[in-house]
Symmetry: C2
Subunit: 233 residues, 2 copies
Amino acid sequence: MTRALGQDELRSLDLQPAERVTLNDTVYADLRELVISGRLAPGQSLSTRTLAATLGVSPMPVRSALQRLADDGALEGRPNRTYRIPMPSPRAFIEILRLRLVLEVAAARQAVPLLSPQALDRLERIHSGMYDPVPLDLGTFLSLNREFHFILYTAADNMRQLRFIETLWLQIGPLLRLVSNETDGRTGQEPHGEMVRAARARDAAGMAAAMSRDIEEAAVGILAWLHALNNQA
Amino acid sequence: MTRALGQDELRSLDLQPAERVTLNDTVYADLRELVISGRLAPGQSLSTRTLAATLGVSPMPVRSALQRLADDGALEGRPNRTYRIPMPSPRAFIEILRLRLVLEVAAARQAVPLLSPQALDRLERIHSGMYDPVPLDLGTFLSLNREFHFILYTAADNMRQLRFIETLWLQIGPLLRLVSNETDGRTGQEPHGEMVRAARARDAAGMAAAMSRDIEEAAVGILAWLHALNNQA
DNA sequence: CCCTTCTAACTGTGATCGCAGTAGGTAGAA
DNA sequence: TTCTACCTACTGCGATCACAGTTAGAAGGG
């Protein structure tokens, strides 16, 4: 038997500093992923107890997680009633749209000089994957689209900015899936191609312009759909 | 005795739609105000039970509120240890600074065409109040500064944007008070004056430039202070 | 057959309790 | 006097319980 390893030696092995993971955070992260991926449709209601039973934990951490999600605007909680995924009003959607144009365009611009060669390759691979002649499952299409965008936002290397953007996607995730499902609108081919080009050319202005166009083009369809929904109701 | 008022009649009196106010939200709002106003210094620790006893409620809603505040980045929670007000690293401060330049400048620009005459007057009154020859208590100075900025951000009429900006101020509030206290630096006179002028002239570009300058000028001093702190430690 | 009314189940919120882990203060030894 | 080791008080987290309000569905009357 040799002596036990010292703390510094253990830390040098890249071991996490323990970082006690709480149930609360786990549930929160899971639900966040569930919402942002759009697997929950607007109007879908979530009950604390039911969720807790499903996840096999007590209602307590679930309650906390739901409250935090409601804070983010990803859920709406009516008094003494179930939480549910909100259907954004056209006005709310425009608020989000304007914020996306500000934050995501800024992030994309900042990312340009920081993108690693691997990130560039990954961007290009995703792009060709998304718009391949072979038809793609809507779920994986949206998933790829999300990965494409967040490669850029992550490269911008501003944790808080990334979190803000995620919060915005959290609010349009369910909508995105729903609308794409009903209108089969898969926009973004040209803007994405332009982004790939701008990224390789380290052309920050081009990147910003393309990102802006991508966001706006997708928004037009959704906004029309939302207005139609509001008029018929 | 006349008949009781109907629901519609009551609602027409501008009564709140009941909107059951939870202890959780009350505590959260109170703490948020406490942090953003800078009355809590970085390093200050907050214990759930102590706070609960002080506020006369059970620890439960306090815990919830603290978790939400930690989510916002206004508090940091070490594992199994007290929550406390974080001292931002220079890197973190720069992240916040860049976000402020993006969001607050955009908000100020959007606000220009929307400012009411009352808001314009209020802006001017605050401005002259802040930089009056008579020396002003630091607390009220900062409070006025905050009100000045948020008149603009509120006028931009984007709830989500406003909330993002508040989240940023939540993270620099304690720092602002602390640094101002130690360096007695009260910047912003010229930029604020320029903002008032731009607002009256409905000059969006001028507003954006002045806001940008205001944020940057204040940041320079704080950043120097932070670097000094990091070197001595 | 349809509409109204009432009840029973379910909702989130808040309080209280038990647990595992941390930290600071105190007592003992060198 | 100084350093070390222990120990008590306190920390947040999770579970369970009690409560008031809501709602959907069933039962009864028209």
